[in-house]
Symmetry: C2
Subunit: 130 residues, 2 copies
């Protein structure tokens, strides 16, 4: 799982989403489209809008890695709406992996901010303190 925090330039979208999805699943089990909507809303001010495809692929990856477990449910009031949805839960292994991944990603995200701030400093002068 540590292959996700790849070194090099900036953190990959997949790793970034993985962290968010693990967090969301850890907190309140929801399903794909809902994750999608929440993230979209959160990141819109930052000009970032993850695609549904990328979200699902990340969820599939987490499933393959036995970090999350899937549970099929029917959405809405029974008898009215039979749309099948998939609820995610962290597995026991997943909880451990989440702790670990969270720590790894802290280092990685800090590194990325450092890299970008170096660039900002190099091109636009030192960062101003308020």
């Amino acid at each position: 799982m540590n292959t996700d925090t790849k070194r090099g330039f900036l953190v990959r979208q997949r790793a970034f989403l993985k962290l968010y999805l693990m967090k969301m699943i850890h907190e309140n089990k929801k399903y794909g489209t809902e994750f999608m909507g929440d993230l979209d809303k959160e990141f819109k001010p930052y000009g970032y809008s993850p695609t549904h495809s990328e979200i699902y692929k990340t969820l599939h990856e987490l499933t393959r890695e036995n970090i999350v477990r899937r549970e099929k449910k029917l959405r809405g009031e029974p008898g009215v709406d039979f749309q099948e949805i998939i609820i995610y839960h962290l597995t026991d292994k997943g909880k451990e992996e989440y702790d670990l991944y969270r720590k790894q990603m802290k280092v990685e995200l800090d590194r990325c901010v450092g890299l970008l701030q170096k660039a900002i400093s190099d091109h636009y002068g030192p960062i101003k303190k308020k």
Copy 2:
């Protein structure tokens, strides 16, 4: 040229390098391998090490866009070392483009820092002020 500051997740390596290369060419005309060594040294502490291939491809792109002009030279003392190198200069158009690109990239880099800092804040609590 504004297709480089692509929106979405984080800034692309190519755009990042473009800004650095334009700056380096603007300041002191050097050649590919030298850019490479300088950048490598600068970014090593940040775990980032651009490949020679990516550097050259970026230089070629800038050339195609008429932002830089190439000048062939011989390196070292004549008669001793005949290694051919390519010195880059900003064209007149390139100087204008550099100003523009620099401004665009400011917005983009700030956006990326914002995105990352939001993630850091979301996952590890609010950013501490020193």
